[in-house]
């Protein structure tokens, strides 16, 4: 065996405690990566079902919502692991500086020193990575099982809505590739973690090692007396603060670990906030009972014009819609029911600055590359239509323009009136470039619209209510007293017109019928957000544990490594009490530095994530005050606890022993 490998092995055997720590941290990191890989391979199959036909409209949103945070999180795992593990090698090399000095004096090259550090990490990995793969499989299995249960619950829910078994389920699934990737990533993390301490150790010169163990890391910076620290912690505090600024490297790892922990707690808080707000927004449309018919669409490209073209496969005719309305209304005397039909795919409006406001036309994303604007044609059941005509002051048979557009402006909900003055006519165009002039007889504004049916989370900019026509879909809104009996009744009505024939696919059938309360439907549609939140929170909690472990290991190593210094201080007459005060003030100063860094990152990172989230959801960043408070208190508690424990251990020790032990 190579000498450098052997030395590394001896080092690992000789320092069992530290090696155990390194193995645990490496295994935890490998486990985390493995768990993520398990999720990835299990989720891979399901994802296709996620983004299948039912979610088509929101697919982009889900992708953005899932992919961007996942990449952030993946990087976070790697960054976190590297920080934690390199902390361990860093403190290990600080302890071994004397040894490296000896090696250099007897003629080891920088390369050989670097090699022993790298070999140390490789030996550790040989034990830790397989452990991590096993532990990660267990964590991944449990996580996938929990997520799978949630999905099963949602399956039940959606089955009750669409009366058809939902085919996607999340089961634990791994392939050899899962493990190959996990092992490779873990090894890369380990090597990256050892690289910097290895490089630093290789650069240490023999003279630096001879002159004093880790003296070369101590910089003689001018330390100003800080009156605040002096007041708070006394002379011992000033001494501690000098230690920190002269021995940055030793403290940097602790400060970094503290900052990471706080940041993660705040990140978790922000994720929760944003997911919560996104859900709130989605359920802001009320909680009416919905009976919903939708045809599938055949999406393609028009051969002559090259424009996107969607053909409604099974449109619902005006007469059918009216018949269904009457039948549903017959459920109970005077059931308040509003039926609204919609077609968003057939026509677009041609931009026209004589009738459209410039604010509207210049708004980004309103016009497509052909100068056309997305347009929705709406119909209503007869009773509602008559009411709307009355509201607009026009005779029955008129086309009514809705002069009200609501949109998500980078996280804020904004409203505007797209049209100016009196509009007499709108020019529509379809995918084959056939133009059609539609007369506009009346205009309705926001306050004149009924609460159900005419509001939408992401409405088209131009919306026109027409007297009749074939529509892509039709939705009936009501608020029956007994949901179960109404659902049963509505299902029987719908089955007359649109029976569920095949059990498995509505693509074959060409339509879907959903009956449920709005919030249930939203729950099903938002399963990705809910699952994402569960998975992200789980990962963040695990990362947080790593952060805590790192705080514990670096802080206690910092105190332990300086036993000789403490012994010297004691030998010149520093009392135990004064020593404890000094160590405490060092920990306190570290915590303050760590908290500040962590809070800054804990704000910046979720804010950056929100920048992409707010493109899709009207959700803006909010400071998670509770998480912040919780994070600071947890971290402070942890620091105080560790310092206490280490000081307790220090008390029983004998000065002479300390000095002797650190000399050979």
């Amino acid at each position: 065996m190579r000498l450098t490998a052997e030395l590394a092995l001896d080092q690992i055997r000789g320092n069992r405690k530290r090696s155990a720590g390194a193995i645990m941290a490496t295994a935890l990191s490998a486990a985390l990566l493995t768990a993520v890989m398990c999720f990835a391979s299990s989720g891979y199959r399901m994802l296709e079902n996620f983004l299948g036909p039912g979610l088509g409209e929101y697919a982009g949103a889900y992708l953005i919502l899932l992919v961007i945070p996942s990449v952030f999180l993946g990087l976070l795992i790697v960054f976190m692991s590297i920080t934690v593990i390199s902390n361990i090698y860093e403190s290990s090399t600080v302890k071994r500086l004397g040894e490296f000095g000896v090696l250099k004096c007897v003629g080891a090259t920088g390369r050989q020193i670097r090699e022993t550090v790298i070999f140390e990490s490789l030996w550790i990995s040989i034990i830790a990575v397989p452990l991590g793969l096993i532990a990660g499989t267990v964590i991944g299995f449990i996580g996938v099982e929990i997520a799978g249960r949630y999905i099963a619950y949602f399956n039940e829910l959606s089955k009750s809505i669409v009366m058809r078994p939902v085919s996607f389920e999340l089961g634990f699934h791994v392939t050899p590739a899962t493990y190959v990737f996990s092992a490779v990533f873990s090894m890369l993390v380990v090597l990256a973690s050892a690289a910097k301490p290895a490089a630093r150790s290789g650069k240490i010169t023999a003279i630096e090692c001879i002159k004093g163990i880790h003296l070369n890391l101590i910089k003689n910076v001018k330390v100003k007396e800080n009156p605040v620290i002096e007041k708070l912690f006394g002379y011992e505090g000033t001494l501690g603060s000098a230690n920190i600024s002269r021995n940055r490297i030793a403290y940097r790892s602790t400060v970094r670990a503290l900052a990471l922990s706080i940041m993660l707690i705040m990140l978790a808080g922000s994720f929760k906030n944003q997911a919560h707000n996104a859900m709130n927004w989605m359920s802001s449309m009320g909680n009416a009972m919905l009976v919903d018919y939708a045809s599938i669409m055949d999406e393609g490209v028009n051969e002559q014009t090259g424009k996107d073209e969607s053909v409604i496969v099974k449109p619902i005719s005006y007469d059918t819609a009216q018949e269904i309305t009457e039948k549903l209304r017959a459920y109970k005397e005077d059931l308040d029911i509003i039926g609204v039909g919609s077609d968003r795919v057939t026509y677009r409006s041609i931009a026209d600055d004589s009738i459209m406001s410039s604010e509207f036309l210049t708004h980004s994303g309103i016009m497509d590359e052909h100068g056309e604007i997305k347009t929705e044609l709406l119909t209503a059941d007869e009773k509602t239509y008559v009411m709307l005509c009355g509201m607009a002051g026009v005779p029955v048979g008129s086309n009514i323009l809705i002069n009200y557009y609501v949109y998500n402006d980078n996280g804020r909900i904004k409203e505007l009136e797209p049209f100016t003055g009196d509009v007499k006519e709108i020019e529509l165009i379809d995918s084959s470039n056939v133009e059609k002039k539609l007369s506009i007889d009346g205009i309705l504004y926001k306050d004149q619209l009924p609460s159900n049916g005419f509001e939408s989370l992401a409405p088209d900019p131009v919306r026109i209510i027409v007297p009749s026509g074939n529509m892509r879909g039709f939705t009936w809104y009501s608020d029956p007293a007994d949901d179960a009996s109404f659902t049963q009744y509505a299902r029987s009505v719908m089955d007359e017109y649109y029976p569920i024939l095949t059990e498995d696919s509505y693509v074959e059938q060409g339509y879907t019928v959903r009956i449920s309360r709005a919030d249930q439907m939203i729950k099903v549609m938002n399963i990705a957000i809910i699952l994402g939140e569960i998975v992200l929170s789980g990962l963040i909690i695990m990362l947080m544990f790593m952060g805590f472990a790192s705080v514990i290991s670096t802080l206690s190593a910092n105190i332990r490594i300086r036993q000789r210094e403490f012994a010297v201080l004691k030998s010149v007459g520093m009392t135990n009490r004064a020593l404890e005060k000094m160590v405490f003030s060092e920990s306190a100063i570290c915590s303050i530095k760590g908290c500040l860094g962590g809070i800054i990152w804990g704000i910046v990172l979720p804010y950056a994530i929100n920048l992409s989230v707010r493109k899709v959801f009207p959700v803006r960043y909010e400071l998670p005050a509770l998480s912040l408070l919780f994070g600071v208190l947890t971290v402070l508690g942890l620091v105080i606890l560790i310092t206490r424990v280490e000081i307790g251990k220090m008390r029983g020790q004998n000065i002479v022993e300390d000095i002797r032990e650190n000399l050979c």
Binding site: E99, C105, V106, G107, G110, Q112, A206, I207, C664
Partner: protein, 227 residues
């Protein structure tokens, strides 16, 4: 031919007002087989001189030539390789690797050089050192004198051009010190090993064939002892 030649060696620390000239234009040479003691008060520049001779510290000016090769122009790594093949260094603190046994510590320079172990030679050295029984012990399981004997063994393993010992007895009681010096003297007389011994203790210096006394970074006396 001189095995060691030191020419105009100078080391300055600091700048301007704070400048300290630790070694001030020192020149001397050592012949093969000599046992030279370098003495002087604490702070006179002995360790600085020795570190420059050993190539672990760079001189401000001047040259060190070992066995005809000028070491002042070598890179850090060249120096390391040079050291492990040609020099043996011993310090006040034992400078052993705590996780290696006595025997493993002794063969370290060989192993660093990627050379095979020569059991005969190790056995011989261990018996010279009186450590045959302790070969498998870790530094923590040995007394100070035993640890220092291990570092002498490590210095000897490569038949170095010379051994540099900086206060090897500084941390030991007088009886153990005597044993260590006797051991060095033995290697000098029986094995013909060239030795540079640094000490502030004049009694110990008297064991050498030649005593160089340093004061304020300069040689103030250089005398050959009559035997």
């Amino acid at each position: 031919m001189a095995i060691l030649e030191v020419k105009d060696l100078t080391k300055k620390y600091g700048m301007g007002d704070g400048e300290v000239v630790a070694v001030d234009h020192i020149s001397f040479s050592v012949e093969k087989g000599e046992f030279v003691a370098i003495t002087g008060a604490s702070g006179s520049g002995k360790s600085t001189l020795m570190n420059m001779i050993g190539g672990i510290d760079a001189p401000t000016s001047g040259e060190v030539t070992v066995d005809g090769r000028c070491i002042s122009s070598m890179s850090e790594d060249e120096l390391a390789i040079f050291r492990r093949r040609n020099l043996g260094m011993i310090y006040q603190f034992y400078n052993l690797i705590p996780t290696l046994t006595a025997e493993e510590n002794i063969v370290l320079p060989w192993r660093l050089d990627g050379r095979k172990k020569n059991d005969e030679k190790v056995k011989e050295i261990l018996s010279v050192l009186g450590l045959s029984e302790r070969a498998g012990h870790l530094p923590g399981q040995m007394s100070g004198g035993q640890q220092q004997r291990v570092s002498i063994g490590r210095a000897l393993i490569n038949d170095p051009a010379f051994i540099l010992a900086d206060e090897p007895t500084g941390n030991l009681d007088s009886r153990t010190s005597g044993e260590i010096i006797d051991l060095l003297k033995y290697t000098n007389e029986k094995l013909g090993q060239t030795i540079l011994l640094i000490t502030h203790d004049e009694k110990i210096a008297l064991s050498a064939d030649r005593i160089i006394t340093i004061g304020d970074g300069r040689i103030i006396r250089d005398e050959v002892m009559k035997r």
